[in-house]
Symmetry: C2
Subunit: 410 residues, 2 copies
């Protein structure tokens, strides 16, 4: 029997308890031993709940119990999760987590501590909820050099954009509705400003590239500036707007960014709707691959955490994760990254297109019936710097949305 | 340095050589040791090719060389691949393969031989080409009980159906074009009759369920009866036709089948077009997940084979695959499986709908402008047996296509 402890009895923690309870027979078979939850650490008590007898309030009880081989950290946030994780690893216990903030900030160090001790620090649930992506990146895509990762990595923003597209509503209306339904938090900033997706693409990029990618270095835009009118233009073009988090190789360096982008129906990310997430990966020999599933939610996330517990149980004294060097990877500035831009400007094509063409060359014009006093256009492939300079010179830009670049010259 | 041998210098074999050559630095880093191809077994010689000096014609040279730790079997077909694989394993060498016929027929036995000797028999490339699916099923989806696997598992048929949909052409025309372009073989039977997809769903089901699923037991229909008119009806309904291979849990048993099915735009499999493949998996706690990528092709398939080589190199004396019992899983007859059916019948709705409704209840009628003397209808959810009986009684059926069932009561 392998004894484990769960740190935090919130949404994911209670999901972990439920998954281990529901599927105990098949989980034990796959782990090769019975997995038993001995402790649940929480500040609160849960009278009447069957885990109440396992509740402890003091982390030292877990740390000092030599029977505990695996610690499940599902508290979220950097502290005290960081201290607890480090102490658990130093005490010879493997750790599984769903904590993206912690992995993004201290992943390299914690992986190194685990590796030195033949332990594991696993974090499948930190990116893409239930979608298997960390393990495939670690042990399936090993024949390839990964030159692009592009993810729809945040369920809340994808739900909001999907609803705005389906219903024609404004960002504010849909956000309010999502908050009432529990799909968005009362303080939605981490989701809608793109910070959550940013941490996740930092983790995926660090793992794929083998070097620390600092999330503070990643250019990040959220979806708060996307309006119902933007969605009308997207529909007019047969496209949809998604919040994409991506890192791409250009020559011998990488850049990364998080921003709303227009994508077309032949893109495998096009039909990833609602709270679903997906991660698109391009390898130099594999070509395109995509991983799709529930990006959040109690049970899908718990499923990923428990798959890590099973892997820890199967490899109690053997480190199975690739680690990434804490030596930071310097991302290149996005200014040189190239793509097409969709731009909405004040004016009307008859009077103002000439000036646009003077600056941007032979653009494609897009108009939406009923939207007067403005029009849209798609630029050719230009750099971020060029766009910025020309847009400033034009002076009439209402909004700009990047167009996802696929295929050649990624 | 780890010495390996490649059996067969055909499409996949030459891809394996190319991938190991192209990405040698990153592959060696991930494997933890340099991987070197010492022999390539082929009946032919390849004068002028840089592997000519490695060519051997006698398998015993490989078998008797104690330096060879990993054998890559990419010959295809049951014999001599089966004999060679078995002898390699018995001689203490791990084996990686893309050979679906062999895995479907003798996988249980070969896995067991490998496991008893702390070796590996890995076959990521046998299903879905470059798509990581075997390894995720084996080591990621371990917290779940899998109750459905549905795959678009054959690139040739998906290419043909996609072209028929895009161009309105007949099966025969598109097949001829696909043969000219090399997307279909001169003898296309294994693909178009569904046998290839059938072997792959047998492998995926065996692995997910832990028991041998015999492909001979799987009800299999190909796409040869799908006509341009069927596609017109599909478009009229806003759906598309895909050759699906699936196994599903009903109560406590499983059934499996391969058949063309109608799927709608909210289904994640809907936009899997051309030579791409995808595997949809439903777990009891994870919910929906999907894996998408290149289902065939020299380099994607080789990428999967080489990822197996890396895993073998990292685990030279440790068995990492779950095995499945050679004790056969008895599939339940498909007669009791339930779904909606789309049926094309002779006649016209005004005169003949009453008789249809007498037999099938309150069906939905579908007509396509220009297709006279016939109409279509969608039944409610009924069993295969009920459909068969009523269709026989009706006596005017032109064609029937199953509708993919999602959500409740899988």
């Amino acid at each position: 029997m392998i004894q484990i402890a769960v740190l935090g009895y919130g949404t994911v923690g209670s999901g972990v308890v439920e998954v281990i309870d529901t599927n105990h027979a098949s989980i034990n078979k796959k782990a090769g031993e019975e997995i038993n939850i001995k402790y649940v650490l929480d500040l609160r008590d849960f009278p009447g709940d069957k885990i109440q007898e396992k509740i402890v309030h003091d982390f030292n009880i877990i740390l000092e119990d030599p029977e505990i081989k695996i610690v499940v950290e599902v508290m979220g946030g950097v502290e005290p999760a960081y201290t607890f994780t480090k102490r658990a690893l130093l005490a010879g216990k493997s750790v599984c987590t769903s904590n993206k903030e912690l992995v993004a900030r201290h992943g390299a160090e914690l992986l190194e501590i685990a590796r030195e001790r033949n332990l594991n620090y696993l974090f499948e649930a930190s990116c893409g909820g239930g979608i298997p992506i960390i393990r495939p990146l670690n042990s399936s895509l090993t024949a390839d050099e990964i030159d692009e990762i592009t993810g729809i990595l945040n369920g809340t923003t994808n739900y909001i954009l999907t609803k705005m597209t389906e219903e024609g509503s404004s960002f504010e209306e849909v956000l309010k509705d999502a908050q009432e339904k529990g799909y968005a938090e009362r303080n939605p900033e981490a989701d809608v400003e793109g910070h959550d997706a940013c941490r996740k693409i930092a983790i995926l990029s660090s793992l794929a590239l083998g070097r620390q990618v600092d999330y503070e270095d990643i250019y990040t835009e959220g979806i708060t500036k996307i309006t119902a009118d933007d969605i009308k233009y997207a529909k007019e073009m047969g496209k949809t707007i998604k919040l994409l988090a991506f890192s791409r190789k250009v020559d011998d360096s990488f850049y990364a960014m998080v921003a709303p982008c227009l994508i077309g129906p032949t893109d495998p990310l096009y039909s990833v709707n609602g709270v679903f997430n997906a991660i698109f990966v391009h390898g130099n020999v594999l070509g395109d691959a995509m991983f799709y599933g529930s990006g959040a939610g109690k049970l899908p996330t718990a499923s990923a955490v428990v798959s890590d517990v099973v892997d820890c149980a199967k490899h109690l004294h053997r480190s199975i994760m690739s680690f990434w060097s804490s030596h930071k990877l310097e991302l290149t500035d996005i200014s040189n990254s190239r793509r097409r831009f969709f731009v909405r400007v004040k004016g009307d094509p008859a009077a103002d297109l000439a000036r646009v063409r003077e600056l941007f060359g032979d653009v494609e014009v897009v108009t939406v019936p009923g939207l007067d006093g403005e029009f849209g256009f798609k630029t050719g492939t230009i750099s971020e710097a060029e766009y910025k300079e020309k847009a400033a010179e034009l002076g009439t830009v209402i909004n700009m949305i990047r167009m996802r670049r696929v295929k050649a010259g990624r």
